[in-house]
Amino acid sequence: MSTTESGDMAEKGADSQNTDTISRRGMIGITAAVAGGVAALAGSKPAAAQAPQQAPAVLTGTQKGRRFRAFITFENTAKVSIMDSNSRVETVTMKELDADRIVVRTEAAQVCYTMLGRVAGPPGINAAGVLVPAQKKGDPVQILGHSAVGIVEAIGSAVKRVQVGDRVLLANTPQCGVCHNCLRGRPDRCLNVLSPTPVIGALADGTQVMQQHDRGGFSELVIPTEQYAIPMYYDVDPVQLSTLGCSGACGLGTTTGFEAPVAIGSDVVVLGCGPVGLSAVQGARIKGASQIIAVEPIAARRAVAQQVGATTVIDPNVDTAHLVEKIRDLCKGPNVQTWSGGVGTARGADFVIEAVGGDYYPPKVEAGPDPKGLISLRWAWDLCSPTGQLSTVSIDQHGDFSIPANQWSNGAKSHHPGNFNGVATLKDMQIYARLIERGQFNAKAIATATYPLDRSKEALQAVSDRTTVGAVIVFG
């Protein structure tokens, strides 16, 4: 662990700190303007190295009037290509900081496939079947994104969890600890997600600005409530940490979390090897699964799956009709004697994780068998053993999941649906960061490309095309 991570340092007087052991908290306390991003962390870069277009740090007062640049999504009249979208980088002027919010200077923000509809979609029914109302003149616009990593620069008067100088992960799901769901062991569905999302600033023309899911991330500054912020105490670079904000934690949560933790020596099937699926493959490996079968149409992703823990990879476009049968056969085990713990016949996997979802745009690389994302849900159900655990995390399907009602009602497969399924962010993000630090979780495998804020559309295009596994917007 880095000595600069010590929270105690902030308690000490600035004079007592030497330059080698100075903490981030201390640094920002001393210096009025600190270089943003990674530079501040390293503590060695001169202030002059600060990118000139970065928002300057203003560490006192209400922060009102502070200006920063952000990638804003504007409504499109019809579904357009990402590059043709109205969405663009604009300058935002902050309104005064709320008592329970913090200002985070962003270092890295993960790009998620689910953002595509927001960037390039028209009003109407979106891919997930949810009505997106047309934006009226004067409606607030949104900063894109739903997770980020950065350094705390200012805190509201009611904030307790973080201090100025902390590096924080702003997770896709908050954990307030005191809402109905947090109190009942389901912090993955923490209710302190505000709706409608509050306004945090305005554009030059007066248009009000919100942050997508109250966090955004494609922005020099993120201004979330403290429930989203998890101070990070492990020595992991921001790009790798940013993978935990959404997809990494989602995959790790389904396999290691409180909902359906993978059992040692078990058979696990992971459908889809995007960032979520590849994290699930790793979670299954970390939990000691004996067989991890990864199903993915894209050859490059299958190769990554093998590198990070899959014992078998399967292309669903090959012999699609027999996919279920083939995988069940792989899971039947050597023991067919019912009297000694055997399964009798091929019965499916102990754990199935489905992380596919519907296509918003056709991929540039190998397309899967069903752009609607429905068939993988059905496979997930069919592949799960009658007493197994089925976790589904995907969204943006076009249509219904349909199954004989008798089977659904009486099939004995425990189903755990939900994004962030099993993740208690405040507890688990530290564990996940530690897994990265110790080399147990390969975050680089799902952070395969970085882009500066001004090239956000290219990052989104690469994610849409599926030509990279996972893109990250970086700052500074």
């Binding site: 079947g129 307030c176 005191v178 809402c179 109905h180 769901n181 109190l183 009942r184 389901r186 993955d188 569905r189 209710l191 302190n192 909902e259 019912t338 009297w339 000694s340 713990g341 055997g342 399964v343 009798g344 016949t345 019965r347 102990d350 489905e354 979802g357 519907g358 994302g373 429905l374 849900l377 009658p386 007493t387 589904t392 995390v393 995907s394 969204i395 943006d396 399907q397 076009h398 249509g399 219904d400 999941f401 349909s402 199954i403 004989p404 009602a405 008798n406 659904w408 009602s409 009486n410 099939g411 004995a412 497969k413 425990s414 189903h415 755990h416 649906p417 939900g418 994004n419 399924n421």
Partner: protein, 468 residues
């Protein structure tokens, strides 16, 4: 508790085990046998006890479905399999799922004795049997529990691989007079004077005070209802629970939820008598689904109506919390979203196999499946147990995939027969589980069709075949 038994044993100088071992035939009138030994002469039309040898050729009567017909027939036992137990039946519950097997005439691939287990006294055991002994009173459970198969050793004996759902063959145990081999349904057919079931279906009951008629409420339906609320998704104290369907399964779930300390138990059923009983057994609110049903156009689409369904909204209203303050343990009470709703939902309805006298809003049984899923709060648990749906069930894929409602499907959902049935017996004995209230009608074997007609009509909670 057992003083009466002791007195009787002292009087008779023998326990049931001893009696049977000594080759004495004992009368086993349902519910009464435990309390008093009867005149041995009352045994005339019962199959005689034969306690030694392979039992081959032993005669007994059973209801047999053969081809398209169904009738009480005289059977001759085939030699007793080494893993099987001969149980003289005292009581066997008529569960709705066997309606067609008794009343129907669809052709059978194999001659079968219907009935999913029952209660009785062990009269003989195969050479490899260890769990039970001659003279034991046993529950022959619908859900076997071998303890050694993959499902059992992985903590899911509710799906023991020897169960009917495990794909095992039903081995013949007897023959009709013309030589046709006859098997018991799921290998544990209950509608005969004898049940000849493998050991792993048998759960010995070491208690003489609970009448066999009441024990018969456990071998199938009670086990299902209690399994949902005790095991697969244990109900938490102070929680809100909704139970769709107040047949014997739903009524068991209601009682189990009460025992687990739920504060609000919402019973939903179209039959007024069933709602009354539900309230007596622990439901705090009783709803008739017709009061919240708008059929609208002829091809009423349940799925597209999910979020507007008035019963779903009613359940959300009933389960709204005292505060919406998120920083104080609250949640939004918006009835149009699934934040508010029951924490636990148990669905025990299913499709109609025959038109009931008081039908529910949807004979296909799909509507309550949709409502159960939709009403469940996000982060809640929905247990479904029903069968006899004839069609597909379709949910908006993204909500199903990403909605955070844990779903626990399955008949014996979480029930471990060997662990849980003895527990349930204790609950009956201590007055905590009212089995008597559920056992609303008894019939002798010869009137089994009448018994099933009432079950099919839903004019009784459940029928039980008793043997005297």
């Amino acid at each position: 508790m057992s003083t009466k038994k002791t007195v009787e044993e002292v009087a008779q100088g023998a326990s049931r085990r001893d009696l049977l071992k000594n080759g004495v035939t004992v009368s086993l009138a349902s519910g009464l046998a435990m309390m008093a030994a009867q005149d041995l002469a009352a045994q005339t039309q019962q199959a005689p006890a034969v306690l030694t040898g392979t039992m081959a050729g032993r005669k007994y009567r059973a209801f047999v479905r053969n081809g398209t017909s169904g009738a009480v027939e005289e059977l001759r036992m085939m030699p007793l399999n080494e893993d099987r137990v001969v149980v003289r039946t005292q009581a066997s519950q008529c569960s709705y799922t066997s309606c067609q097997n008794v009343l129907g005439n669809r052709p059978m691939q194999q001659a079968q004795i219907p009935g999913y287990g029952g209660v009785g006294i062990v009269e003989a055991v195969g050479s490899r049997v260890r769990r039970v002994q001659v003279g034991d009173r046993v529950i022959v459970a619908d859900s076997p529990n071998c303890g050694q198969c993959y499902a059992c050793v992985n903590g899911r004996p509710d799906r023991c691989l020897w169960s009917g759902a495990g794909g095992v063959a039903f081995d013949p145990v007897a023959q009709l007079s013309n030589g046709t081999p006859v098997a018991g349904a799921i290998n544990a057919g209950g509608f005969g004077e004898l049940m000849i079931a493998p050991e792993w279906f048998c759960v010995p009951v070491f208690d003489d005070s609970v009448p066999s008629l009441e024990l018969a409420m456990l071998h199938e339906t009670g086990s299902v209802g209690l399994g949902c609320v005790f095991s697969s998704a244990p109900v938490e104290p102070g929680s809100d629970v909704a139970v769709f369907g107040c047949g014997p399964i739903g009524l068991a779930a209601i009682q189990g939820a009460r025992l687990k300390g739920a504060v609000q138990i919402i019973a939903i059923d179209p039959v007024a008598e069933r709602l009354e009983l539900a309230k007596k057994l622990g439901a705090t609110v009783a709803l008739n689904p017709h009061d919240y049903f708008d059929p609208g156009k002829p091809n009423y689409d349940f799925r597209s109506n999910l979020e507007k369904d008035r019963l779903v909204i009613k359940l959300r209203e009933l389960c709204s919390g005292p505060t919406e303050r998120r920083m104080a343990g609250g949640r939004p009470n918006d009835v149009n979203r699934n934040h508010a709703g029951p924490d636990f939902v148990i669905e025990a309805v299913g499709g109609d196999l025959y038109p009931p006298k008081t039908p529910g809003p949807d004979p296909t049984g799909l509507l309550p499946l949709y409502q159960a899923w939709a009403a469940c709060t996000s982060t809640g648990h929905v247990c479904t147990t029903s069968i006899a749906h004839k069609t597909d069930f379709a949910l908006p894929a993204d909500l199903w995939s990403n909605g955070s409602k844990n779903h626990h499907p399955g008949t014996h959902n979480g029930a471990y027969s060997m662990r849980d049935l003895p527990r349930a017996v204790k609950l009956i004995k201590s007055g905590k589980f009212n089995a008597k209230a559920v056992a609303t009608a008894t019939f002798p074997l010869d009137r089994i069709k009448e018994a099933y007609q009432q079950v099919a009509d839903r004019t009784t909670i459940t029928s039980t075949i008793t043997f005297a």
